[in-house]
Amino acid sequence: MPPITPDRWRILSPYLDEALDIAADQRPAWLASISERDAALATDLKAMLAEHEVVNQAGFMDGAVLDSQITHTPSLTGQVLGAYRLVSQIGEGGSGSVWLAERCDGRFEGQAAVKLLNVALINRAGEERFRREGTILARLRHPRIAHLIDAGVSKTGQPYLVLEHVDGQCIDDFCEKRSLGIEARLRLFLDVLEAVAHAHANLIVHRDIKPANVLVSVNGDVKLLDFGIAKLVEPGAYTYNADSAESGTVTREVRRAMTPEYAAPEQLAGGAVTTATDVYALGVLLYVLLSGQHPAGEALSSRATLIRAIVETEPPRVSAAIDRMTSGLAVTRHAAQCGTTAIGLRRALRGDLDAIVAKALKKNASERYATVTALADDIRRYQRHEPISARPYTLRDRTARFVRRHAAGVAMSAAVVLLGSGLLAVHTSRLSTERDRAQHEAEKALKVSELLMGLLTSADPYAIRQQSGEPTVRALLDTGANQVQLDMIDQPELQAEMLTMMGRTYERLGEHEKARQLLEQALVSGRKAFGPEHVRVARTLDYLGAMLANKGDNATAARTLEQALEMRRKLLGTEHADVAVTLVELGRVYQDQGLNDRAEGLHREALNIRRKVLGDNHMETAVSQSDLASVLRLNGDLAGAEALLHLSLETNRKTRGEDHLNTFMTLHDLALIATAKGNTRSAESVLRQVLAHQRRTLGDRHRIVAATLNSLAHVLVDQQRHDEAASALQDAAGIARAALGRDNQLVAVYTINLASVRLAQKDPAAAEALLREGLRIRALAPSLVPSRRRTFPQDDWSVGATKSLLGASLVALARHDEAEAVLLDARRDLESLRPFRDADMKATVARLVDLYVAWGKPDAAATYRALLQF
């Protein structure tokens, strides 16, 4: 049979469909019926069907070149994840399997534990979030906390964690096997508390404290495992949905999956998980260590009774738990394991330890110890035979009253309690007199930071996503600030500390004036308490300087930051991460003042310190790279700026994720470089992506969106797309006006840019109106527009340059008298700025030439034309 032409095939094709659906033995009859109508068709079909048989029998194209599925699951042993190779499985649990692993990238760091998590990372955003959370946890460093070395996702989508490998025994087994007495058990438990307090001060809650996560080495060193990992493993954590009904379902699933022996009531009830949740789990742990029994006792036998016991039943006192034991033999055994007798054990537990454990185990989170340190303090008081805080209940009543007074928002109640009882704790600590001063100070510092943590995590928009009820938090902050200012006059150290952190919080909430007040006061109390030169004073100065810079008071900001820098260098050495922080703040201020050379030096120094201290792949290093790049770009070193931005981009992607604002900010800066190099098309497409992301994350009306629109407008002007550019600039000006106020200098910049587009569109009347408004604003602050906020060098509209543009509009409108006056005025302004504004000067002279030509004054035109030759 000859080859079939395409046309012939199109005819045959539907018949073949039919034929292939008919059983082979019925095909002859079918062909015969076709043959009656069209013999040639039947012949072709017959031949094709015969060939089909051959094809089938020969197995033509059976099999496949590639395989769509993974057809074999290779043993995980030997698999490489990040820098580690799996050696052998050492455990299997609800959240995943644990493997012993060794480093395989040449560097020696011994062994690690790799946890392969059973969690579905639905999409790329989930992966990014997982990595980001992992990065946060990896920063948690404490000798008693097993360090998270790495968190990643394998190419098959398997999320994994690389953890410090700990060789030890669960704390309850350890105590039992060694027959530790009550005192020794308390000492170990205090080590646990120290580690948890450190994590809390770093805003990390464990969420899953239980003996299996508290290991003790042969030497008696405590190590806590899996800090914050419970949160990473939550199913649904990576498919977060704003719809509250849906996230409620997810929470319920989590609850089902969790082993509730150490769960707090609020975890079972789906309430907010806070530091108080860890306090509860620690209470259960202490109960178990002291009595050898779980507080739920018999209820432990079934899941349902256990849950009811946790939520509803007040557990017996620890000392009473001894009596609950089923046989005298069990009591004697546990007592013996504690190195005492049943009577001795009961006596040791009764009273203070009963009260301490009971307070940690309160059903209502706000009635528990406000912080882990408060729990530790009480245990130490017990050890020293001092009165403990858990017993006089008036404190609790006062706390409850405070809560009733201030807690309008239920979600905020934890923060309120932290503040309320924290302040009370401060009052009581004033009463104790005979303590080692240094120790005292350290404890207080920790207390303060823990106390404030509650505030910061609730109120700081950078720490968590915006919540409803924010005004309540602000009211709460105000109350706290007042109390600190009034009640702590005789405790300057504590006052300085609190005022500094509260000032910082106000600053982050955008309340500059209030922030300034508190920070300045903090400086006064700090100098009084610590002396004129102290790291704490330097830190307050740094915050104050940054705050002043944000407000736009560059001169004072520069002076303050210079002081902070000098002090930090002196106290910390020239290569310290904190020195880099101040260098960056000061560099930005210099840049805003137009002192680019000075700024460049500082940014370079900061970058070097960060690379050395934090490493090349640190997000702070990326910030310094972007800062330095921005100075270089404005100084005209495009290649240098571009190279730095690529480094910064890579680090941002790795450390903050593809979807982070900083990542997109770096892309934006790269687009500016592309524009400057003439790659307007690619710059435009990048800027549009950046814009879409910023609108999604910041909203349509954010000042950063306005800045990006301005950048986009420049790219469009470069492509002669004036209409689009004009509408982008109109948007930008509108946004800036709403976000920053109608007199803001950025409003002037966008307005003047829009005027220059109108001029290019041959609409001088519109340009004139815009320029007059722009000039009005520029006259309010005639010094330069902050250069850090500028995307293009030409955004630096001086008053002279703006007048010159106005002159050009008037020339176009043939209002020659006015144009002459304005242009000559512009020339005088620009003259005073020499030699900086030469380009603007040249443009002004050229406009004068145009004017006199149009006006019919050839002599004057010739005079200015001659000037242009220079």
């Binding site: 094709m48 099999g63 769509s68 993974i70």
Partner: protein, 200 residues
């Protein structure tokens, strides 16, 4: 991504921007697999194409109406990669890209000889002109190893429909290749052994 594309990519007429970017993406993913995991690592084409889909739709969100359209297109691109690799192997004897996703010389040889693969691919381009649906199904089934059930699920049609299209498309290819050959009897050289199927 700056890697030059394989020889012969220009020969494919459909070398539009999308093709090139997808080609480069698949190439990159495949190369990454080779670096990370070594040959025969067990990465399935599904995973590879899925990753490519995420990556491409990130960059160019609007290019595809749906996932099925993407898969069909990506399978076509995948064939381009395979054929380029076969060509390169034929000229270099070694060093091709595709052991990565487990197209080893021997394995590919089990399915069809290099010459047969090239012929199938060329003829498939003809078929794509006449009945693109059939060509897509062959790309997915033969070159990428998707099962009838998977392809049916992808396109929301019955498995039987896919199987029929496959039979028809395969028939077209066989007929076109066979009738283009000058002398009869050479069919054995293009046909695959019936039991070749999948890799270990």
């Amino acid at each position: 991504m700056n890697e030059p594309f394989g020889d012969g990519v220009d020969e494919h007429s459909a070398a539009d921007a999308l093709f090139i970017s997808l080609y480069a993406e698949l190439h990159r993913l495949a190369r990454r697999e080779l670096n990370r995991r070594g040959p025969l690592g067990g990465l399935g084409v599904t995973t590879l194409l899925h990753e490519a889909y995420l990556s491409i739709s990130d960059k160019d969100g609007t290019a595809f109406a749906d996932h099925a359209r993407f898969m069909a297109y990506a399978a076509r691109v995948m064939r381009g990669l395979i054929i380029d690799d076969v060509r390169r192997r034929r000229s270099e004897k070694r060093g091709g890209l595709f052991h990565i996703t487990s197209l080893d010389t021997e394995l590919a040889g089990n399915v069809a000889s290099p010459n047969a693969l090239l012929q199938i691919s060329d003829t498939l381009d003809e078929l794509a002109e006449i009945e693109p649906e059939l060509a897509e199904i062959i790309d997915l089934k033969f070159f990428c190893g998707f099962s009838f059930a998977e392809i049916a699920a992808m396109r929301h049609v019955s498995e039987r429909t896919i199987q029929r299209s496959w039979e028809k498309g395969r028939l077209y290819l066989h007929h076109a290749i066979d009738s283009a050959r000058p002398a009869a009897g050479g069919m054995r050289s293009t046909s695959a052994t019936a039991n070749a199927a999948h890799h270990p």
